[in-house]
């Protein structure tokens, strides 16, 4: 919570599928450099929200702004160019690539997709390729996948596949990172490791918007929590506020309070 400026502003966003209002008149903003969590029951519209922000689907109504840019309904690659990167709830890896290659794709925006320099192998081109590789090495070391860099990503276990996705997203050098249930399928120890990772990422100045069902993670990690239910904002606030909020208990936690 270093700066108060909002990096992402979602304004009266709505999206329905047939009769289902997946996101309904939702407004909130994410403060720069925060870790901001989105929680809510299954089917509340969290992933839909991510899809709207990253341009995978277009909203029926409402605006999405990134810093001072209107990014509503832009194509996903354009939004990525604005510095937004994400992971997917249903892991989407490149089935024929190794861990290293997968993460390398993330450097596309840095190395660029220009053909001429590639064919002429310009100095600039070679320098960027080298830098990109160094960066990937750094990231893979950072997420703990360096040892596995030559394995096919799709053959890793579920948990490690999630790390690959995170590495790939980090490689784009995002200013805003969207994580959709990044710790699903991981045990407590691994979750803890990832949480440390997220804190470090955040320290590097990357704002994180995270969806998670793991309340321990959410409570420890986040600066701000937005709870949504039926596509609408239920409550919003820092963990202390959300923690014992009766509406959240009712809709989301069920008996979990006993354990918490």
């Amino acid at each position: 919570m270093n700066s108060k400026a909002a990096i992402l502003t979602v304004d009266q966003l709505s999206k329905s599928f047939g009769g289902v209002k997946a996101v309904n008149n939702l407004s909130f903003s994410v403060t720069q450099n925060n870790i901001h969590a989105i929680i809510g029951p299954n089917g509340a519209g969290k992933s839909t929200l991510f899809n709207l922000i990253t341009g995978v689907i277009s909203p029926d109504q409402g605006k999405i702004r990134l810093l001072n840019n209107d990014i509503t309904s832009l194509r996903p690659d354009k939004i990525a160019q604005h510095g937004v990167s994400r992971t997917f709830q249903n892991i989407r890896l490149f089935p024929d690539m190794t861990v290293f290659e997968t993460a390398f794709i993330g450097t596309y925006l840095f190395t660029g997709g220009k053909l001429l320099p590639a064919i002429l192998r310009t100095k600039e081109f070679r320098k960027k390729e080298r830098q990109a590789k160094e960066r990937i090495e750094e990231i893979l070391q950072f997420v703990g996948l360096w040892e596995m860099r030559n394995e096919y990503a799709a053959k890793l276990s579920y948990g490690n596949q999630r790390r690959v996705e995170i590495a790939r997203a980090l490689a784009t050098n995002p200013s805003l990172l969207l994580l959709d249930e990044p710790t699903a399928g991981m045990n407590q120890k691994e979750t803890k490791e990832l949480m440390q990772l997220f804190t470090q990422v955040n320290k590097q100045g990357i704002t994180i918007l995270i969806i998670a069902h793991d309340m321990h993670l959410v409570n420890t990690l986040s600066d701000q929590i937005t709870v949504i239910n039926f596509g609408e904002k239920l409550v919003e606030g820092p963990p202390e506020v959300i923690h014992n909020h009766p509406a959240v208990m009712e809709a989301y936690m069920g008996r979990a309070e006993v354990n918490a």
Partner: protein
Amino acid sequence: MLNVQNISTYYGQICALDHVSIKVEEREAVSVIGANGAGKSTLLKTIIGELRPKSGDIQLAGKSIINEKTFKLVSRGMTLVPEGRHVFPLLTVWDNLLLGGYTLPAKERQQRAEEVTEPFPILRERRDQLAGLMSGGEQQMLAIARAMMTRPKLLLLDEPSMGLSPKLVFEVYDKITELHQQGTTILLVDQNAEMAIDFCSRGYVLMAGRLAGQGTKQELKESEIVHRSYLG
């Protein structure tokens, strides 16, 4: 009931299970825990016949099932809720459920579908929505409900709580507790280790494809390795 003897399973050259033996008695609830990549899913897939072990034997009610096809095992009362849900994305929610009851008599299917969706009202509301368009958690509910259609005698669960909200995790565990009490044998893999250990009477610990330990609920809770490698 289920007796896994010394199996080794390979993916090509890679050894994912190395001489693993486990045993599940009738009406027991047993858990398998282990880190990412330890081989838990591989173990369940090997039991259900999706993977063939290179060596070792698996017996169901005393008979070797190592050469049985998956669908045969299912019709003999064993079912797996696979990791990552695997619903049929382009079929409706309801069709997914009915297919879960493929081996049931036609008359029973509808009613059974109503029964298994009782803990998950959303599935009833959205019965005509394509399963692939449901949210992650909703698909998980569907996968669980679908597996229950046949009233399996032996239920293998691979991370059933993945992607479910805390409230639903409890509901799912309630449901499998109920099934267990009604006589279903359960072999459970769940990263939510505390819950898994609590739920089961016994458990096995897998590490890098090998059996690293086993014990009763109490033993596991106090075990050093479990804490170190698993709960962290």
